[in-house]
Amino acid sequence: MAVAHGVAAGIGGMRAAGDLVARMQVSQGMRIKQAKEHVASKLGISVLDIADPVVMSEVRDDLDLGRVNAVPGAAKGIDAKFRIAEVLDIEINCLNIFKKRTGLKS
């Protein structure tokens, strides 16, 4: 069912900007229109680009926000989340815990 829903209605997760739009729903409780507009504004793209995997591959590559492809040296997990939090201007729970555990200040 995940595949059929993804093809029919999904933004595309990390293939595009689905995880970033989801971040705004999760952290700010934004509805879909507002969340897409916020992400588009922060990334400097149009709202239609949000679900475009070609545009978003370039944007994610440029900002190092994590990609589905195995790119050497590219952000893979929590390192990408640090960049996402900065770009979207949000708090992420596990990052705050990570900073506390490692003694990172910012």
């Binding site: 999904g10 952290s27 509805r31 969340a35």
Partner: protein, 347 residues
């Protein structure tokens, strides 16, 4: 000319355009009358009719209408299909191969009560997964009040008490179960949030009726006071809160008999961040009839919601047939209709 669609149980069915239109109109009227909400407009009926007349096997939302996809009990679905991967590998498959926008870690016995004794084993899995995944990662479980009555739990079983006319005793049992369930939900959710989860999903809420809905709202209220930034997702069990206790109120609203838009209002008050209405399939009616009902109930939510609405669109809910292997034609029609017509925030 006849068009191929399906019954609510998934079996194929051929209908004329007039028959499909009549079922859509009957379905939306049924939902509107039950919940006292607006039925679909003529344009919406025509749009849904076109979706069912479309000969293509799969359909999709209009460009620009794409929504966030979240998956309840995500990691258990690989186990259910006998795929031999770990929970973390399951999450990576959702993240990197299935295009998921949100992830959810879950225990195979998907209820808060059985998670409680093994939560210390779930926390490190979550902690590791958070290091290597990127989308929001939730921990999910069901409130499942049924586990708190005998023989599975400590309280007298209301299903035995009610037929004996022991209504006061049955209600007292439900009230006792509420206390147990709230304690378990708050405990597990706290542990997983403190381990780093982006949010907690209370899935299939209200399956045991109004007492379970009350317990979940109460647990969420406690959690939001404790962790104001916690994201809480609440997926419902059905379109109608069963009055098993029948005299429970939250914020002065009687819980028995609430339809989705009223469930949403209370969820918002309790502090829910993402709400998931669940509209049941009637297996002996056509999918056009069922989907029209779902669209009507869900649209009543999206019209008034102040929070994102992720409709439950899995097997047996949201216009999806009650079949273990769901046909792509039926699933994508539910996806498209609910998103394009009701302006959903997610599925």
């Amino acid at each position: 000319m006849k068009y191929t669609t399906r019954m609510g149980d998934g079996f194929r069915l051929e209908m004329t355009e007039a028959e499909i239109r009549k079922d859509i109109e009957d379905g939306t009227s049924d939902a509107a009358e039950r919940a006292d909400v607006e039925p679909m407009t003529d344009d919406e009926v025509a749009y849904l009719l076109d979706i069912y007349k479309c000969p293509d096997r799969s359909v999709g939302v209009q460009r620009g209408n794409e929504v966030v996809l979240s998956y309840d009990s995500a990691t258990t679905k690989f186990k259910r299909c006998n795929v031999s991967v770990s929970k973390i590998q399951s999450l990576q498959i959702y993240e990197r191969l299935l295009g998921s926008d949100m992830l959810e870690l879950a225990h195979i016995d998907y209820s808060f009560k059985p998670v409680k004794p093994i939560v210390v084993f779930e926390q490190p899995i979550l902690e590791q997964a958070l290091l290597i995944t990127i989308p929001p990662l939730f921990y999910g479980a069901m409130p499942n009040l049924g586990l708190y009555s005998q023989p599975d739990g400590p309280s007298p079983n209301p299903a035995n008490l009610l037929p004996e006319g022991k209504i006061a005793e049955a209600r007292a049992s439900y009230e006792e179960q509420i206390d147990y369930a709230v304690a378990d939900m708050v405990y597990v959710a706290s542990r997983m949030y403190e381990a780093g989860a982006d949010g907690i999903n209370f899935d299939t809420t209200g399956a045991a009726g109004d007492a379970e809905f009350y317990a979940t709202l109460t647990a969420i209220e406690i959690l939001k006071k404790k962790y104001p930034d916690m994201c809480v997702q609440m997926g419902m069990a059905s379109e109608f809160v069963l009055g098993m206790h029948a005299d429970l109120y939250y914020d002065d609203v009687r819980l028995a008999g609430l339809y989705p838009h009223k469930q949403l209002e209370l969820a918002q008050k309790a502090g829910v961040t993402i709400f998931g209405p669940a509209i049941n399939i009637v297996s002996n009616r056509s999918l056009p009839w069922n989907l029209a009902r779902s669209v009507t109930f869900v649209a009543a939510c999206t019209r008034i919601a102040q929070i994102p609405v992720h409709a439950c669109v899995g097997m047996g809910v949201g216009g999806v047939p009650l079949a273990l292997s769901v046909p792509v034609d039926a699933l994508t029609r539910s996806s498209k209709a609910l998103v394009d017509i009701t302006r959903l925030d997610g599925l």
